[in-house]
Symmetry: none
Amino acid sequence: MGRASKGEERRAQIILALQDVMAEKGYERASIKSIAQAASINPGLVHHYFGNKQEILVSLVEDLGQRLHTRYIQQIEESEDAPRARLFAFIDAYVGLGPGADPKAVACWVSIGAEAIRQPEVRETFMRFMRDTLEQIKLRLTEVLADEGRQITNIEALASVLLASIEGSYTLAMAVPGLTPQGYASPTLKQMIVGLIEQQPLREGKESST
Amino acid sequence: MGRASKGEERRAQIILALQDVMAEKGYERASIKSIAQAASINPGLVHHYFGNKQEILVSLVEDLGQRLHTRYIQQIEESEDAPRARLFAFIDAYVGLGPGADPKAVACWVSIGAEAIRQPEVRETFMRFMRDTLEQIKLRLTEVLADEGRQITNIEALASVLLASIEGSYTLAMAVPGLTPQGYASPTLKQMIVGLIEQQPLREGKESST
Amino acid sequence: MGRASKGEERRAQIILALQDVMAEKGYERASIKSIAQAASINPGLVHHYFGNKQEILVSLVEDLGQRLHTRYIQQIEESEDAPRARLFAFIDAYVGLGPGADPKAVACWVSIGAEAIRQPEVRETFMRFMRDTLEQIKLRLTEVLADEGRQITNIEALASVLLASIEGSYTLAMAVPGLTPQGYASPTLKQMIVGLIEQQPLREGKESST
Amino acid sequence: MGRASKGEERRAQIILALQDVMAEKGYERASIKSIAQAASINPGLVHHYFGNKQEILVSLVEDLGQRLHTRYIQQIEESEDAPRARLFAFIDAYVGLGPGADPKAVACWVSIGAEAIRQPEVRETFMRFMRDTLEQIKLRLTEVLADEGRQITNIEALASVLLASIEGSYTLAMAVPGLTPQGYASPTLKQMIVGLIEQQPLREGKESST
DNA sequence: TATGAATGAGGCTTCATTCAT
DNA sequence: CATGAATGAAGCCTCATTCAT
């Protein structure tokens, strides 16, 4: 797993530079020149490490996804072992801080969502990450439902709404700052999840709570 | 109420053309030339009606917002008079169909959210619409809570999560099509809302259902 | 001599509008649209009165020249009858106030001098005025020299330097405002002229009049 | 003092190209394309060396100013040591030949004077040069007056008229060629200066030196 | 006369990418 | 690896001029 050769370092430098510039100007307006400047390297050098601009973007998507996943793993490790705790750890990792705990990263992530609509290569990478994330949500939900004696139905839709809420909270946070209350997302999402869970019918003759 | 002078028609033509091109290529790649072509007019004419490209975008934001609001009004009129029905009408208007019942409109809306991060003029218009929408959600929620004898607390956060879920569902629908189940959003969101409502404590000694 | 028909008024309006816009932006950046706005008329109307933009400029040159000449005639009429007084009246008309007593007019005049270098039609009109002016200077100088018993030689060069000083004072006044002292030009030019005159040899042993 | 790196050469090439094109068409009509052609380089390359068109113009102003100053220094070195000779050397440098001994340079200089009215950045550079030049004139004049026992008053105004005469002679030379006699400027200006000097009162009853 | 829509050319600038050194 | 010069294609916008009404 020999990471961090000179080349890898350079690549990482460039990817982070794209993140910085893109957070400020968006993808299209992030010129190779400006990226190079942000990375403190020569413009011509960028194309030694990436075939074209889009490749940097794809790498950034991977990088941001990786960072989010890493945070999630950490939160899981620090959390209690109970299913609910693990589900909440997921929420904390993904909205408590957003991707990378970094406003720049969140801004990029929103732009990436938009770029993914048009650029197949970006979509592919973005989608892979979203699919994995959705799987995790389903896992955590199933775990909780099982643990609490609820029927496991409709998981796909529940997980989708949760994922949408997370993505949407990024958009709101960046595009309409100040409109939504500070720090509302994490606790309210947890509350919402609890609500959803408790609407699931009990597995064996028990009455559902509705 | 003389609507649609010649100039207004042209403007509408151009705004719709931006929507079409932008849905396919995104804002930055929607060139004035391609917009003019989509509108079947001369490229030079675009700047006869709009000072610059951004003005078209801002007009499109207003237009899309207006369309959504109109749909909402219609749904309200068609719905029953009960508070819950009105809240659900809101959901149907905003996610049952997305902005404009039109995939193009949804694609644009996601891009607009991203552009709003960087372009103050776009943000302003986008934000005004989001603020109004948030107010509507709060109104509808308050109505329901009052009607069902629940305490009215935490409305701001509840509404924010709902708004985020809607926005996020647009992003998922366009950027990772097929990942989430068809038509999941509207019913699941309603379910989620019910869950959230029923977690609100009762106003007078009655037991909450949790 | 029926002046001021409706058409003539419109033309004058447009010419003055060019002056206003040109003073602020220069000739090339004075668009037909901005000229029309300054004239409070419709852009399309401009080409009813002038074949093209250059024609307006040529008319402006004529207009400014006319104004200057008119001022000169007035000053002459108000001045004493002595040759020196008439020469000084010339100076007062041309630099005491500049063309039209109007900073805008002076700014235009400097630009016109530059445009005359490249545009033959402008040069022709500009040159006609300059030739007439030079003739006036020579007349006034000859008059003075004759009156003061000086030999009349070198008039052409003397007049040219005087004309150059006037033109140069416009450039300095507009391009480097504040660099030269307020109101220096008129008295100092008079002083310079006196110096030049008194260097002319006497015609027949008479003493100079100073 | 390593002058003329590759980049500096290119810059100089472009600046001279602007001079050539501008002499023929004026600043606004000197397109980047035509400048590139005159410099025998690719149009896109121009913006590799200059941020925008105006920067080229400002550089040209500096370049022309430098050339004039250099000529003046040379004339001074070649002239006698007497104050009058030095003052006359100034005149020869500035009008005997015009800026750069080059009609193109003179044509540009006139246009620059006009552009300076509108473009602050151009004005600043133009003004700096004019200020320096005015200082030189004052120096030379003071020197002469001191040497010839004249009172040193009114220097500012005398110098201003001289500077105006020089600038004006450029305008006349380019805008109305043939109107003024060939080569009139230098000798007549000298004559005018002598006239001005000899009008200055003597410091202490001494006779003037003429 | 008057309006303002329409045309089409061209200008400045930006930029991804390639290449010589 | 690294530099930064070079290329050429767009892109946005401005504008003089024409034209239908």
